[in-house]
Symmetry: C2
Subunit: 610 residues, 2 copies
Amino acid sequence: MSSRLLPLLSLLLVTVLPPAAAIWPAPQSYTKGNTTLYLNQNIKVTYNGASVCWSHPSSTENGCCLNEELSNENLIHQQLPYTYGYSPSGASSKEIVQAGVSRALAGIFDSKFVPWVLHKPNSKFEPDVYAGQNWLKTLEIVQTAEDKPSAFKPLDNEVNESYNLTISTGGDVKLSAVSSIGILRGLETFTQLFYQHSTGTSWYTPYAPVSIQDAPKFPHRGIMLDTARHFFPVEDILRTIDAMAWSKLNRLHVHVTDSQSWPLVIPALPELSEKGAHHPSETYSPADIERIQKYGMHRGVEVYFEIDMPGHIGVVSLSHPELIVAYNEQPYYWWCAQPPCGAFKLNNTAVDNFLGKLFDDLLPRLAPYSAYFHTGGDELNKNDSMLDDGIRSNSSEVLQPLLQQFIDTQHSRVRKAGLTPAVWEEIPLDWNVTIGKDTVVQAWLGDESIKKLTGMGHKVIDSNYNFWYLDCGRGQWLSWENGEAFKTGYPFNDWCNPVKSWRLIYSHDPTAGLTPEEAKLVLGGEVAVWSETIDAMTLDTLVWPRASAAGEVLWSGRIDPATGQNRSQIEATPRLNEFRERMVKRGVRASPIQMTFCVQGEAWECEYVM
Amino acid sequence: MSSRLLPLLSLLLVTVLPPAAAIWPAPQSYTKGNTTLYLNQNIKVTYNGASVCWSHPSSTENGCCLNEELSNENLIHQQLPYTYGYSPSGASSKEIVQAGVSRALAGIFDSKFVPWVLHKPNSKFEPDVYAGQNWLKTLEIVQTAEDKPSAFKPLDNEVNESYNLTISTGGDVKLSAVSSIGILRGLETFTQLFYQHSTGTSWYTPYAPVSIQDAPKFPHRGIMLDTARHFFPVEDILRTIDAMAWSKLNRLHVHVTDSQSWPLVIPALPELSEKGAHHPSETYSPADIERIQKYGMHRGVEVYFEIDMPGHIGVVSLSHPELIVAYNEQPYYWWCAQPPCGAFKLNNTAVDNFLGKLFDDLLPRLAPYSAYFHTGGDELNKNDSMLDDGIRSNSSEVLQPLLQQFIDTQHSRVRKAGLTPAVWEEIPLDWNVTIGKDTVVQAWLGDESIKKLTGMGHKVIDSNYNFWYLDCGRGQWLSWENGEAFKTGYPFNDWCNPVKSWRLIYSHDPTAGLTPEEAKLVLGGEVAVWSETIDAMTLDTLVWPRASAAGEVLWSGRIDPATGQNRSQIEATPRLNEFRERMVKRGVRASPIQMTFCVQGEAWECEYVM
């Protein structure tokens, strides 16, 4: 009988209870009340005591004054609500904060977000706008320390992203942080406390008083985007950066070239993209790269680049065939993981000169906005050097010293440009190449790799393919001939099937099975967007909100400090539903994770409890 | 050595060979040449000898004259290239053909389609526009029989969709068909023969002379769309109908209600959607329904509806609790497959009166545009009637006669309204309910069900969940509590995991394992879009081009008549790549199936051949 009473009881409850406050990722500490406060354009914003001019591009109003500089600035993504932003040429903390305030407030006013949970069929929880409105009066922003020059291109652990946010029942908001990046994080949290009233005339939070103390668990929280197997237009990358900032993700790792294409325009070597891009329209100019990096910097998202080598570089053969072995060799699986094959010749002066020229052009342009440069190093096939006239061997004993020298040379160039190298795990683990203590190693082959790498003292980024590869599980890109080949391929699943659902992604702890000493070396993680079967059409739906699920693990931690236990799907699901709805309203085509019935109802109706 | 020579040889070849002509689905018979003919707005179009006024909405030009009626007609999807269409109030063959010609020609001119395969990095195959242009002069359309009244709402096998299409090197196009629907199919094929020149100033086909004889293998080629677990705005449904017509799919089965919501406005019972829709904005008015049906009719896509009963109907409890048992009972899995549970009371006068009123309102509105009405019947849980005060039993012996009577009564109402009933397979197979010989049975539980049903003499639609359920494989909608429940759910795959890739979908033959007699009873199939985790954000990317893969099996047949063997992925892949690209240009966010490198290159580079 209890099972039959429970629904009735709960139906009664949902008609009177306000919704849970859905902040994603969850703050470290969070208390709230149930007083409703309203927000409009009259809120007075200060930053370290001075008035902040914030601007609302869709109207002539703004927070304190008509500011020529702001109103003339480049409005990006004008067709999308909320995703516009300001790109001042400099990077002053004031400008960063001012633009952040503008995005946060304009976002609340423009996103028209009335969540499902507030207007379900059998409940009308919403404050009565006609019963008197108490208004937010001030948003007082205090930054407690001056930003270091590295604040906008930090190494992991180099910037303090923590913040404190309080809203008093009297209508005063206080946001304090050590860095301007921390202030951006707090502004995003502030945004997520507000709804538009369904009357369409008011914005409010029903949660005052609010007190939040927050800080990230891991400093490196990212997405790796492969722009070589499919090209992604600049606008799609900027939109991705917006959604990353909403999820408090802070690293966009662009895997910008691979054997399939070279979209990156290198003025000193124009033939690379002329011959190697899929099409002249599918290239990133130096101005595009700077635009992407600046856009990220303004949102606390550091954009860094990878040129994968010495494997995964076949495309260079189209312009420089003398530098490459095994280009598009067949059958491809003898020579590499995926067509077209192709690797740099090791121990080759021409290759070294080429890379000198490439890095001299590229790295000084990236360094103002990046702390890292990734030199790749995954899946190098030993057989390739069998075809290299200068080597003719697939013996590790022969190849290892050559690879060591290759990495040493390139990494010293990276360091000379003021950047810190990153590599895939195969470089130290499979090839026993010695790398610098500064070098970050990206692990993708699982927990065991992380254990080994941290055991060796390496700093690690976790991209465990069993959990955090977003491309997996939707079928192969390869075509099978009828007959025996067909039988071999059937049922045509890809190598990392199945799809990693948000629940699986959310269940993964990058430090699982590590000692405390080892765990300290895990800087964070990146979900991977390999693009064999992903392009601009599918980017949003495949990345969001799954990347946000990893985002919460990386920001809030797998363990919930309130319980000391793993975070619970039951607690997370309604928050992720609401966050996903908010993303859609902000112009990102995020996938639904539950049917509307579950989103509208109390979570228990769509839960499995034993 | 042969493996090393092959790439070089092939690179030479791709620079001189024109692309394969990519028509999707493949015509039954198709020969082509290599003469290039150009197309512009001066082409003279006739239909049974009379001039056809076709109209190009994005310009003031049209094919023969300024036609007030056409130019004033409702332009749908103005924001999308190619997806606009004309909705004359009547259904004359002339209007159908005229609008079809307008869509086909405007589509060629507007879609700006230059396929990847024509501008790959190492090949520049494209006709030289400056070397003289031979133009298409006439498009002569001949319909060889008058359309029967049923032509625009046919029962399966009631309309002849075959057509013949020829293009002479002299520039004369002849399209003949028995019905106007056949003409629409031929016009779509015509469209797929054309590209825009990359100079942007010309449209051309490089394939003249062309000779195509074509006809569908199966009369019923459809998509089932669930609008109850998530609502789909009318515009999204119209766009889906557009893409269906491009794929020569001809049945849109709208699973319009389920236990989760009732979006269908019934003027005689307004409380159903008032209480049962997710929100007042998430409803289909009678005008919406007619708009959708007419839009389909103009594109040769019959839209028919399902109200699933006597299970999957819990939502009625929100307005008529006296008619429903087990609404939202918990734990749900004792009472149904998914929350909220709820079934009609069997053997209940009030239920019967309710359905009389519902059908009297609804069916006369649907019948002008539909041949079928689907009464559902899947997954009825026997336990539900344990809670029915009038029954208090879960014994099949008690329930079967009641269900028989329920089906008999409702189906006779369906027939009285001029519609033919359809049901899910459980009604005859699990419940041994006797159904009329006219009734179509939709099978979803696999090949064995089809074998049984056709063995019993039933007409069958195939929706085998192992192949043709498009919702599968992206993870569960259910949330698991930490602890034992978490372990039970891990790794949180859904029941029909993995994702059905287009290759798996394409491998499925609805008549596999049947005798010729049994095979005749298979009318075709429908891919299913259950919407637990699909909404308007993800609809396009999850449906396309996977539904097109089923579309080719259903139109062209699993067997290739040219070889007598199963159709080959190797042959199909480049065609589907090109068709998918064309869909994107026409405004549908279809997913990529291969990386650009494979799409641009010769297919062999991304093939597995033994």
